[in-house]
Every structure is written in C-alpha cells, then in structure tokens.
Symmetry: C2
Subunit: 261 residues, 2 copies
C-alpha cells in the first residue's frame, strides 16, 4: 500500500508539473489552395507559449464537414485545448459551427442573446439582420460564447474546443479573451545566439551541450547574411536556471566566432 501511495503521489506530481497541451486546427480551403498564407498559427503559438501552454501540433484542413468532425473528434481527447480558426461567418462555405456541433452530437440552436446583439449592431448601422447574418447566431446547444468585440458574431467553446473566426484581427480579439481563462503552465523561455558560422561547424558543440542539459531543447537554424553562413541557436526551457547555465556555456564555446549584431 505504501508503494502504491508513493506511485500515486508521483503521478499526481508529474501531472502537476506538466504544462497543459494544445493543438490548432486551421479550417479553410484558401490556405490549402495557396491563396492565403496562414498567420493564425504563429500568432496563437506565440500567445500560448507566453502562458506555458505547449502547442504540440497544428493542422490545416479544408472546409469539409467530415474532415472537421473527424479532426475535432481525434484531437479533443489528445490535448488539453483545441483551437480552431475559420468557417463561422455568414456564407454557404462557413460550415465549422455545424460540423463542430455534429462532432459533439449536439444540435445548432439560435442563441437569443447573440441574435439580439447582432440585430442591434446592424440596426445601429441602419441595416437589417438578413438570413445570412442570422446564421452567425446559431451556436451548438449549451456552448459557451466567445465574445467578438469587433464584428459581434461570436465564437464558442464546447468542452476543451475553442472555435474562433478565421480573419486574423477578429481571431486575435477572441483569443485574447480566452487566454486568461486557460490553465497556465510554466512559461517556456528562450535564449538565442546568432553566430556567424555554419551550423555543421558547431554541431558537435551543440550536441555536447544538448546531452549535458536534457531539460533544454536546443534548436539550430541556418541562415545566410551577405553570403556568410550563419546559425541561429535557440535554447528553450521552463527550467530557467539550467537555461542560463547552458546559454553561458554555449557563449563560451562560441567566443571565437562573431555574433550577428
């Protein structure tokens, strides 16, 4: 029994120490056709990183009902949080709300407060709530709203799935309301050394420091500067003491190379 208790406590402890995890689902034919460069992933990635939520994967899928359902269904049990962007607007190709509802086996319902808010918003611009606009007030039953301070039409949350707009500035406004409500983990901090030398010449140094500091993730990213080979060495960790140590050691190993100023 004592052993069992110790094991249980250890598990609880590991669980407490681990950061929440996340996946992003970018929904939109326009990204897969190459028409649109997805920048939502990078924005969400940076924001999650700041609050210690570990982004494990991102997927781009088409405006296809079955693929939305399958992807939501697969990922929602794998990660603490799922964030989707795209497909909640007024037109025929906006099918995300209905598909997410289906993934949870829930009906779409007219959300009265959203309906009134949209009606009021359009009335203030001397416009009417036509059928297309009304569509944006249909939300899966019992979903929690994600307010949209910009164009009123809300996003929503079902369990751990956050459904947001695809237009970047609207998505950003939604995300920034969601972030304070999430479990925060320990922020992964990073330190970067941009050194004027090709990465293959410092590979052995990087590997030795990586082996010495398993709690740090060391990434090596080559780039060119006026035809000189350079390397951006990025150290990432939520153990700030070890991060400082590894950084200091690498700086010392690199003292004979110039750094990009």
């Amino acid at each position: 029994v004592r052993l069992f208790l110790a094991a249980a406590l250890l598990l609880i402890n590991i669980n407490i120490m681990q950061n929440p995890t996340a996946a992003i689902i970018i929904i939109g034919d326009e990204v897969l056709s190459g028409r649109t460069l997805d920048t939502n992933t990078q924005y969400i990635a940076k924001k999650l990183s700041e609050i210690g939520v570990d982004l494990i994967e991102a997927r781009v899928i088409p405006d296809n009902r079955q693929m939305i359902i399958d992807t939501i269904y697969e990922l929602k049990t794998k990660y603490t949080y799922i964030f989707t962007t795209g497909g909640i607007g007024p037109t025929h190709d906006d099918i995300t709300s209905e598909a997410v509802a289906a993934a949870f086996n829930l009906p779409l319902e007219l959300h009265k407060e959203s309906f009134e808010a949209l009606k009021e918003s359009y009335a203030s611009r001397n416009q009417v709530l036509n059928k297309a606009r009304e569509k944006m007030a249909y939300i899966p039953k019992d979903a929690a709203l994600i307010p949209n301070p910009i164009s009123i039409a809300p996003g929503f949350r079902l369990d751990n799935v956050y459904v947001m707009a695809g237009v970047p500035y609207i998505m950003e406004a939604m995300l920034n309301q969601i972030l304070p409500l999430l479990k925060h983990g320990k922020q992964v901090k990073s330190k970067t050394i941009d050194v004027i030398i090709g990465e293959s010449l410092i590979a052995a140094d990087l590997e030795s420091i990586q082996n010495k500091y398993p709690e740090i993730k060391i990434g090596s990213y080559p780039f060119k500067l006026e035809s000189q080979y350079c390397t951006s060495v990025v150290l990432r960790s939520s153990n700030y003491e070890k991060l400082d140590q590894a950084y200091t050691e690498l700086l010392k190993l690199f003292e004979n190379y110039s750094q990009v100023s």
Copy 2:
C-alpha cells in the same frame, strides 16, 4: 455480369478522373513555438495546384521521433503523395531521416555517391567533411535521392513520401525537381471577384450560384479597404466551362456593386 462490368468500368473511370491527392508535414519545433512563420505550405500548395494535385491537409509537428513516425505512417496510405520539410540537416535536432526510415522499418545507410559529392563540395571550399556533415549522407536504405543543387545534402523519396529540407529556398529547389515526376491531374483554376460590399449582403447570391454549380467551389473571404467592407469571392474548379459560366453569372449579379480595381 453486364451490370458488374458496367460498375467496374464506372469505378475505373472515376478513378482516372480524380486528381492525385497530397498532404504536407512541416517538421519543426520552431514553427510550433511561434519563432518561425511557415511559408513552405503556401509555396508547395501553389505548385501542387498548378499541376492538378489536390492538397487535402497540412500538419505541423515537432522534432519528435515518435510523432514523425506516427504521422508518416498514418498519412502515407491516405494520400497519393506526402511531402515533408525540415529536419534533414547536420545538427543533433535533425532527426527526420532516421524517423522516416523507422516509419518504413528501414535502416539508415551511408549513401556513397552523396558522401563523395558532399566531400568534393566541401573540399572545393577548402573544408573537410566532418562528422556532422557526413550525417547528411545517411539515407534510408534503397531510398531514391532528391538532388540538392544548392547545398548538395540531398533529400529523398521512399514510396510516396518526399523528404525535403526545411530552409525555404532549398526546399523550393528540391520541389521543383520533384514536380515533373509526379502524376499530374487536371489543374484547378480559379477566378476571383473582389467586390466592395460585405459578404453577408451577397451570401444569398453566392449560395444560389453554389447550388446551381456543384462542380465549382465558391469561397467567400471578407476584407476591409479604407474601412469599407469588401468580399473576395473565389471560384475554383477543374471544369473550366462551368467555371466561366458561374463567373459570368456572378458578375451579372454583382453589376450594381463596385469592384476593387
């Protein structure tokens, strides 16, 4: 029997008419941390679209051996082609080649011609092939090489999986050699109308045209221009006659609205 034959012919016919499909796997912690904006997906998407290969999904995953193996394993039977970028360089965090080999249950082997080519290339710059550089000549057994005209270290193909560099200009050089070797489908062409009106006011028009032309995909993308609501309406299809017809009909429906010049 006649019915069976007719059904078989129909199936063959459908198969011939369908475009090849593809998925992209972007491998790199730097994209998931928000450090790097992925532009490889858009480049590959545009190029595939030009040759009639339908990109069905794109995934960003970390430099994590098991996730690389699992993702390759899952996707390679789902689509005609898989394209990966990232993780084939000389440093400790470049683990893609080994992981892809493992997904196919193959060993990594020193590829003699690549080894010689790399040695020669470095010798021409008065440099030696150190252990890190040598690593780039290790390729899964029996893989076909994807030549790298820029920095020599090759990518490779195993069955339908194309493994390319992550640095955009190197990836692009590799992809442009691969494209002529792929099965080409019928190119999906697109026509765009940028109209100065909010999408909710043309939603009914769009839906009616969408219903009339099921072989066209009509996407509606809102944007703002000097605080005016605008909509980019994109029609995509490999049926060019229907595409022209739908486009002409939409232009007529929009004749009372200004277009973005």
